[in-house]
C-alpha cells in the first residue's frame, strides 16, 4: 500500500462513520418528527372541542407503567406518509395531551413517536398525566381522520397477536357490545366515574379474534332498543 492510498483511507473513515451514525439514528428513532408549532403538550381543565365519535381510541395492551413513558408507538400501513395527530385524553375531558407529527413509515410496522417531556401548562404545572388504563386513552389519527392502533411506551411489542386490544367507546350511557367477525359478542365495561364526557366504556378484544379485514360490529343496547355501527381496525399482516 502506497502512502497516498493510506492518506485517502484516513479521509474516508470519518465520513463513513458519520454516515453510519446518521443511518443508525434514523433507523433507531422515529421517522416522524414533531411539527414545529404543534409539538405535543398537555393541558388540564381545558375547553374541549365537541366531538362526535363512537370509537374514541384503540390501544394495545395498556399498562400504568407504559402510560408514564414519554414515547408512544403507532401501527401504520406500509406506504403511510404524512401527518399524524396524537391525542391523550381522559374520560372526563379534564386532561388532554395533543401534538402533531410528520414523516413517513420505514420498514417497521410500529413507529415510535417521541412525546418528549410533557409540558404542562399553568395553572396546573405541578399536575402529572393522570395515568389509568381505564380512564386515560390514546388516539393516533391520520390526516384523513383514520384511527390507528397505538401503544404506550417505547418497547417494541413481542408477539402482539396474543395481546388485548382495548377499544374506548362513547356509548351514550348504554350497554355496548363488540362483535369481532364471527366470534362471540364481547360485553364492554362501563366506567365508574361521575362525568364520563369523552367516552364511558371500554371493550377488551383479543387481537387474535380480530378478523383479517379488521371489521368489527358495535351494538348499542339502550334498555330494549338496539343500534348497530361498523368500524374497521387497521391491522397489517405483513
Amino acid at each position: 500500500m502506497t502512502p497516498s492510498t493510506r492518506r485517502i483511507d484516513r479521509r474516508v473513515v470519518p465520513w463513513f462513520l458519520t454516515c453510519l451514525a446518521l443511518a443508525w439514528t434514523a433507523g433507531a428513532y422515529a421517522q416522524f418528527q414533531p411539527v414545529p408549532g404543534r409539538e405535543y403538550h398537555e393541558i388540564f381543565n381545558a375547553t374541549n372541542q365537541v366531538r362526535g365519535e363512537a370509537i374514541v381510541a384503540l390501544v394495545l395492551a395498556p399498562s400504568i407503567e407504559a402510560q408514564q413513558a414519554d414515547t408512544i408507538q403507532v401501527l401504520l400501513p406500509a406506504s403511510y406518509n404524512g401527518e399524524l395527530r396524537v391525542e391523550a385524553l381522559s374520560a372526563d375531558g379534564r386532561f388532554r395531551g395533543e401534538g402533531s407529527f410528520a414523516g413517513s413509515r420505514s420498514r417497521d410496522r410500529w413507529v415510535a413517536l417521541p412525546l418528549g417531556r410533557a409540558e404542562a401548562k399553568e395553572p396546573h404545572a405541578s399536575l402529572r398525566r393522570p395515568v389509568n388504563t381505564e380512564t386515560l386513552a390514546l388516539a393516533v389519527r391520520g390526516a384523513d381522520g383514520t384511527l390507528y392502533v397505538a401503544r404506550w411506551g417505547g418497547e417494541a411489542p413481542s408477539s402482539h397477536r396474543s395481546e388485548m386490544l382495548r377499544i374506548y367507546v362513547n356509548s351514550g350511557r348504554a350497554d355496548i357490545f363488540i362483535v369481532p367477525g364471527k366470534a362471540k359478542a364481547v360485553h364492554c365495561r362501563p366506567l365508574t366515574i361521575p362525568q364520563p364526557l369523552r367516552y364511558d366504556s371500554y371493550c377488551d378484544v383479543p387481537l387474535a379474534d380480530v378478523p383479517a379485514d379488521g371489521n368489527l360490529k358495535l351494538i348499542r343496547r339502550d334498555q330494549f332498543e338496539e343500534q348497530t355501527q361498523t368500524f374497521s381496525v387497521y391491522l397489517p399482516h405483513e
Binding site: G52, I193, P194
Partner: protein, 392 residues
Amino acid sequence: MRMAEVRSKWIGLPAKLLSGALTAVVIMLILIFSLKILSRPSGSGTLSITAATGSLTLEPLCGESVTWDLPAGRVGRRSVAPGEPGYETSAEAVTMVLAPGSRTRVISSDARVLRVSVEQTDDLAQRCPAVASQPYRLILDGAPAAQDPVGFNYEARARAEAGPLKISLPVSGRVILGQVVSEGADWRARSAPILLTGAIMRRVKPWFSDEVMTVGETERLDQGSILDSHACMEPRTSSIAAAPGCSAAQLVPAVGFFQILDAGGLQVQLYARGPAGVQNYRGPQHRIEVPLSTALWESDTVKVWGAFFLLIFACLEQVSRVCKSTWTRILHSITKRSPDKAATSDAEPAPRAIVSDRASAAGGETAVRSSAAEAFHEIERLQQTNPKKTNI
C-alpha cells in the same frame, strides 16, 4: 456582684426570647388545631336537597339495603348478548332488592315511562367489610329471577289512557342526581336525563341546643349540574378532582325518596350529612357541607358565654385597678387608726395578706418587717417606682 448582674441580664434575655417564641408557637399550634377541628363536618349538620332531575343513581352503603316494589314492566338480562335468546321477560309485579355493591340508575324523561338499570360495582364492594355475593335480587311475580352477572334492565310504560305513572320510591345510600350531556357518536338521538333544577339548604343543631335551624344561603343548582351526596367517595381514578378516600363502612347514608313528576322527570327529596359534591356543567367539583364551626357560631349558649368572657377580659385591667385601690385604702385606714401601736408592737403579728411575695423572698431584711405600717410603706414605695400602675 456587678459581674453576676451582667451575667444574669445576658442569660435572662435569651430565656425571655425563647419563652416568647415558645408561647407564640404553642398559640399558633392551638389555633391551627382548633381551625382544623372546626372546619370538619358537623355531626348534627344536615343538607336538605330538593331537585327535579331526569336521572338518579343509587349505591346502597355498607350494611344497608333498599327494596323497591315496581309496577308491571319488562325485564332484560344484561349479560345476554344481542341476538341471543332469553334477554327479555315481562312481569306484572317486580320487586328489586338492592344491597351494597350494586349501582342502580333510574331514568324518567317521560311521565309515563320509568327505566331502571341495575349493575354490579366493584368500587363500593371493596370498601365494605362484608358484601353479599349477589348485591341485587329481582323477584318477578313472587318468584326470584335467575341471577345475572352483569345486571338487569327494567322498563315500565303506562298506557296513554292510564295517565302518568304514580310511583314514590325510597332511597338510602349514596345518591347521584343528574348526568353529563354525552357527546354525539352517531347514535339515535334521545334527550339526556340531566338535572333540571335543585336547591340545597344547610341545617344544623347548634351546640347545647335541641333546636334545628337553617343556616347560610340556599345553594341553587344549575341545570345540567351533577350532585353527589357523598363527595368523598369519588374514586381516585378521576384525573384531577381526586378527593381523599373515605370508608363507606363509616358513612351515614343519604335518605329520602323520589316520585315521577307529571311533566316528566323525577322529583327528589334527600337528606344528607355531606360533604356533598356539586359539579356544574363541565366544571370542577366543589363541596357543600355544614362545618363544626357553624354549629358553634349558631349556639346561643356559646354566644352568651363568649360575650361574658370577652367582657371580663376587656375589663380585667379596670377590675384589677379597682381591687388594688380598694385594698390600699383599707390598709391606709387601718394604719391611720393606730399608727403607733402598729409601729411599735412586736407581740402582734402583721396581717398575712399585706406581706407581699416579693418582700418575703427578699431574705433577712424583710423578715424584720413584721408590722402592718412597715408593709404599707413598702407598698407605697413600690407604687412610687411604678406610678403608672396605680391610682394613688
